[in-house]
């Protein structure tokens, strides 16, 4: 018999299950249109998403995360892969295990890590108060509401991977006194650096802030009995944890410091400057929820020393405002997880109100039922329909796949025009040396009605990691300022092996002009049809570098 008594664990299970269902419905089921494996990038709405997927092909080909693919490094084989690796590695492992495409496993890993983060944070709150934890669940629903959703569809994925490890570390931190826990804490702290290194820095913020709070509270006792204090024994463990994590991450931190931190300038961004439709501002969830969370945060401030989760959540809230003091996008993006980080404040407010209204001890059943009702209400209110493949059509993807499978490794490809290619990193997945004609130059040729031998193109290569190469065991240098790595410039229109023409566009004129160029190449320069589907046409140039305009 299932136990439905007022303090039965069944109620907790039910609330957690309803939250899981609501999150899956609002997030993955919504973005993927009810199908897990589309076999091509589905629900990818910006180039960042394509960038992180593209790394996996070379990871599987080379077997490791040491170097950037030569086709992303202008033919260089020694460019160091500087991006954090965890998320792509996990995606490749899942692809090997399930047989799904990388386009699918990438998204699955993101969603899995986010869902686990939600429940892991719930367990941290539960240590403080199980009823508050139950009442905090509904706020998590906002993870897949408007604006927050763009973090998923636009490909802010390594952030979620790093944050998942960060939350795992916070869980360990809240139980650090337990035997064996420092070992798991060191692993999780190291895993943050490998997943999204800015969260590693924020972990240091959290530790420093909590330490300061504890010192402020009991500095008199600490001055007298420092070595015998609980503070000393606990923070000795934390310091050892930090040292162990530094040892584990050393190899990658050497790369990180000399790439992402090379020439680093503080950024002072605001949600407004970045576009309010993309970044979370204080009022994004609506004024009433903002007031509720703010009120809960104030209550949390009054009882700050009751439990570590209150201190942690306060620091995480403040980290969300460090964009104003130089952390820029990294500080701003932590706001995507406010529904998780600040959920304790929402739960705390409900708990205080309910205990004062009901004038008696709250049962698990009451908390779970209220939580379930609010989850349903929030899910209904904040559901944002997404659907659709996103930036790239299935046909364009099939064209890219064809190029990968049927052209020589050293072939180069010119993308003439396509709606998706203004975000050129989409073409990282061509897995060949690729260029795309700049839209302005394409428009100028179309207006002039004549092709030119020299066209202005964007060269597709990865400059996110500063294009570094090793000069010693611990030292790196950079290609990025050499002429070879100019992102845009003149190219010979006839100097490519393959030409890709999109046959579908939001602008009908480009479809016609693409078709006219393709016709000209086929008739005047004997280009042959290499591949065609309803969305793209790929032509092969029989005489690369010859006169294709004759």
């Amino acid at each position: 018999m299932i136990d439905f008594s007022k303090d039965s664990k069944t109620w907790e299970w039910l609330a957690l299950f309803v939250l899981l269902g609501a999150l899956l419905w609002m997030g993955p089921a919504n973005i993927w249109d009810g199908d897990i494996d589309h076999g091509y990038p589905y629900g990818y709405y910006a180039q960042d998403a394509f960038i992180f997927m593209s790394y996996q092909y070379y990871l599987e080909e080379s077997g490791n995360w040491a170097h950037l693919a030569p086709y992303l490094a202008r033919g260089h084989h020694d460019v160091v892969q500087a991006q954090p690796s965890s998320f792509e590695i996990l995606s490749v492992l899942l692809a090997q295990t399930t047989g799904f495409s990388y386009a699918t496993t990438t998204y699955i890993i993101v969603m899995l890590l986010v869902l686990l983060s939600v429940f892991c944070f719930y367990f941290i709150i539960k240590q403080f108060n199980p009823k508050v934890a139950l009442l905090s669940l509904p706020l998590n629903v906002l993870l897949f509401s408007n604006v927050f959703m763009s973090a998923f569809t636009w490909g802010n994925w390594p952030f979620f991977a790093g944050s998942a490890m960060f939350i795992l570390f916070l869980w360990c931190f809240s139980r650090i006194k337990e035997p064996w826990m420092p070992a798991l804490a060191a692993l999780s702290l190291a895993a943050i650096a490998f997943a999204h290194t800015s969260e590693y820095v924020f972990a240091a913020f959290v530790l420093a802030a909590v330490a300061v709070l504890l010192v402020v509270r009991s500095y008199k006792t600490l001055l007298k009995h420092f070595k015998k204090s609980e503070f000393f024994s606990e923070w000795k463990r934390i310091v050892l944890t930090g040292i162990a994590s530094l040892v584990i991450t050393f190899a990658y931190l050497v790369i990180f410091v000399q790439t992402f931190l090379h020439d680093y300038q503080p950024q002072y961004l605001t949600p407004e400057s970045q576009g309010l439709s993309l970044f979370v501002s204080v009022t994004t969830p609506g004024i009433w929820l903002t007031i509720a969370v703010a009120a809960g945060a104030l209550i949390g401030l009054l009882m700050l020393y009751k439990h570590r989760v209150l201190q942690i959540s306060w620091v995480l809230l403040l980290i969300g405002f460090t964009n104003y003091i130089g952390t820029g996008k990294r500080g701003l993006e932590t706001r995507y997880l406010w529904p998780v980080y600040l959920s304790v404040f929402f739960g705390l407010l409900l708990y205080v109100i309910l205990t004062n209204v009901l004038k008696q001890k709250l049962s698990t059943r009451v908390c779970a039922v209220i939580s379930i009702v609010l989850i349903a209400l929030f899910a209904n209110q904040y559901y944002t329909e997404v659907g659709g493949p996103g930036l790239l059509s299935k046909e364009s993807w099939q064209g890219m796949d064809w190029i990968d499978q049927h052209t020589p490794k050293d072939a180069n490809v010119l993308y003439v025009y396509g709606d998706a290619y203004s975000q050129a990193a989409v073409l990282f997945n061509v897995r060949r040396d690729a260029d795309v004609i700049l839209v302005d130059d394409y428009a100028a040729m179309a207006q002039g009605g004549q092709l030119r031998r020299t066209v202005q193109t964007e060269r597709v290569f990865d400059h996110t990691g500063d294009i570094a190469y090793r000069t010693g065991f611990l030292t790196l240098s950079h290609y990025k300022d050499t002429p070879d790595f100019a992102a845009r410039g003149p190219r010979d229109l006839c100097g490519f092996d393959y030409y890709v023409f999109d046959k579908v566009s939001r602008m009908q004129g480009t479809v016609q002009y693409n078709a006219a160029i393709a016709d000209h190449f086929q008739q005047a320069a004997n280009f042959t049809k290499a591949y065609e589907n309803s969305g793209v046409l790929i032509l092969k140039n029989p005489a690369k570098g010859g006169d294709c305009l004759a």
Binding site: A29, G34, T97, F100, L113, F123, M165, L168
Partner: protein, 126 residues
Amino acid sequence: MHEKLKRDAGWALAGIVIIAILLNVLFPDSGIVTIAKLLGGIVWLFVLPGYFIMLPWRETIELKERIVVGMLAAAGLEAVASYYAGIAGLHIRSHSWLFPALIIAIGIVLAHSKRFMKRAKASGPQ
């Protein structure tokens, strides 16, 4: 010990079946084979290794918390191990079966180590 493992396995299996049903409802265009492959992959890569990583806390932390935290821990451990193993020359092709199997094997050995389990048991709730 074996009784507890059996009981945990029973609960975990029940959880997987319930999640499979939920996925079947929410992803109507995915066949049962796709859902089975997905859950099989997640169980192999994250649930099983995670369960064994969390063995030292089996007396103090309840199963659902250990599964959630263990899955995250397994993800972190496999990602870091795979990074270094790849750099050391072990191709990633072998990592998806090697690392989960290794973590599970070490977990089973530790579960049978009286000294280890005694220490874990002695930890008790704080």
